[in-house]
């Protein structure tokens, strides 16, 4: 029987939930990594043994990045620190926001995104990372501003077929794209609104994009949940159009694509930037099966009465099983899972600290 693991990064440590019965019953274990805030985690299933990653940070002792090759029984923090800004940048790492294992045919390639906004590349499976100088030296950098959570690069989307191409997204900077293996980067935000901006609401860059996703079989098509606005691009981010019609609100943090169904995406709307609660205080996931032309509400098994917690941008994910599982964690410390593509949900963990990130996959 397949063993499935959910990594749950919270404000105070990392938990795991494990199921060996096709995701019917879960064993929750933790916390690992002490009282550290775990804002990024990943399951890398490419090697002979799965490798777990965690980007943790302590308000006292600073950030760190660790990995585990025994499913979380022990964690290794490499020396020297895997991510450390070069001396000439006069910058210190504040937090790891994203850990993204590379493609299957490059099993040692791992990407990371950090605060302050920077992209990092590892060619030794996450033991050491190198700063992407092209993005770091971008002339727009001085204009990027911290969003509410910090000035972070939170989304990394390597092109599924062309290793010289990639999109990244950051708060508050927007979406940027490279077509020359990271040597140069161009903004890719045309059509994305920055309703919070005082003047030009459709600037070249500076939007607060919360999450971007795409399906590997449709590399031209991107989906974005913005700080106000839900968008789709059919031309690799050259232009974007709203797909918010049919949703109860266009604010939110999550954007997840179904791994086996191009054009199927999931979001969790919140009322507005100044009212960050589920509409009607009912926790609902919305699914589109037609690339955002229409949306359906999914709420079976979710709290539908006086629910006020939010779901952070990396606290929603899918697993890699043939029958897709979907997972999300809330700032009220619950993790919900669906083994039927969102039709019904069950709470697999409760009463944890604020959930910041969730990742799921096969580990055996």
């Amino acid at each position: 029987m397949t063993k499935t693991m959910v990594l749950i990064g919270t404000r105070k440590g990392l938990w795991t939930a494990t199921a060996e019965d096709d995701r019917q019953s879960w064993t929750v274990r933790g916390p690992d990594l002490g009282l550290n805030e775990v804002a990024a985690c990943a399951i890398d299933a490419r090697g002979a043994k799965p490798r777990l990653f965690a980007g943790a940070s302590s308000s006292h002792w600073g950030p760190a990045m660790s990995y585990s090759d025994d499913l979380g029984a022990t964690w290794i923090e490499p020396d020297p620190a895997p991510i450390s800004f070069p001396e000439q940048t006069d910058t210190a790492l504040a937090r790891v926001w994203q850990i993204m294992p590379g493609p299957a045919d490059q099993p040692d390639l791992v990407w990371a995104g950090t605060e302050p906004s920077a992209l990092w590349r590892s060619e030794d499976r996450g033991v050491s990372f190198t700063l992407n100088q092209g993005l770091w030296d971008h002339p727009h950098r001085k204009e990027w501003q911290p969003g509410g959570g910090g000035q972070a690069l939170h989304t990394i989307l390597p092109h599924p077929q062309d290793s010289t191409q990639m999109h990244v997204a950051m708060s508050t900077g927007g979406v940027y794209r490279t077509t020359d293996d990271g040597a140069s980067w161009n903004p890719a935000n045309k059509g994305i609104q920055g309703s919070f901006l005082p003047a030009d609401e459709f600037p070249e860059y500076g939007q607060c994009v919360h999450k971007v996703a795409r399906h590997p079989e449709r590399p031209d098509q991107l989906f974005a949940q913005n700080h106000g606005g839900v968008y789709r691009s059919d031309d690799e981010g050259t232009s974007w159009a709203s797909i918010a019609e049919g949703l109860p609100a266009d604010f939110g943090f999550n954007m997840v694509v179904h791994p086996h169904a191009p054009g199927t995406v999931y979001v969790i709307p919140l009322v507005a930037d100044m009212e960050r609660f589920p509409p009607q205080a009912r926790l609902r996931v919305y699914r589109s099966r037609d690339a955002g032309q229409s949306w359906e509400e999914l709420s079976k098994g979710l709290p539908q009465d006086r629910f006020y917690a939010t779901v952070m941008r990396d606290a929603m994910c899918v697993d890699d099983l043939p029958s897709t599982g979907i997972y999300f964690g809330t700032r009220s410390g619950s993790v919900f899972a669906s083994a039927d593509e969102g039709e019904s949900w069950s709470e697999i963990a409760a009463h944890l600290p604020d959930v910041l990130c969730v990742r799921a996959g096969r580990v055996g």
Binding site: H60, F85, D90, A92
Partner: protein, 94 residues
Amino acid sequence: MAVLVRIPGALRQFTDNARTLEVDLPEGSDVAALLATLGCDNPSLVRRICDERGNLRQHVNVFVGTVNVRDGNGLSTTVPDGAEVYVIPAVSGG
């Protein structure tokens, strides 16, 4: 010269649970030199105290004897022979 560094409980995972570390330094060394020497054998410990720019982390204090180096010359504070150096986290959090 010999200096004794007292390690707070939260950082003893990086010292094999040792409460103190004795460090040999040249006469006239400062706190920065002390941390650099410590970091040769124990980089994980020192990066909890300073970031990669060499700046003391915001909620970490280092005392040389009874002097908080923030009130002295920072990491340029001289460490006398036989001094005790304390690494003390701020009392904060929730």
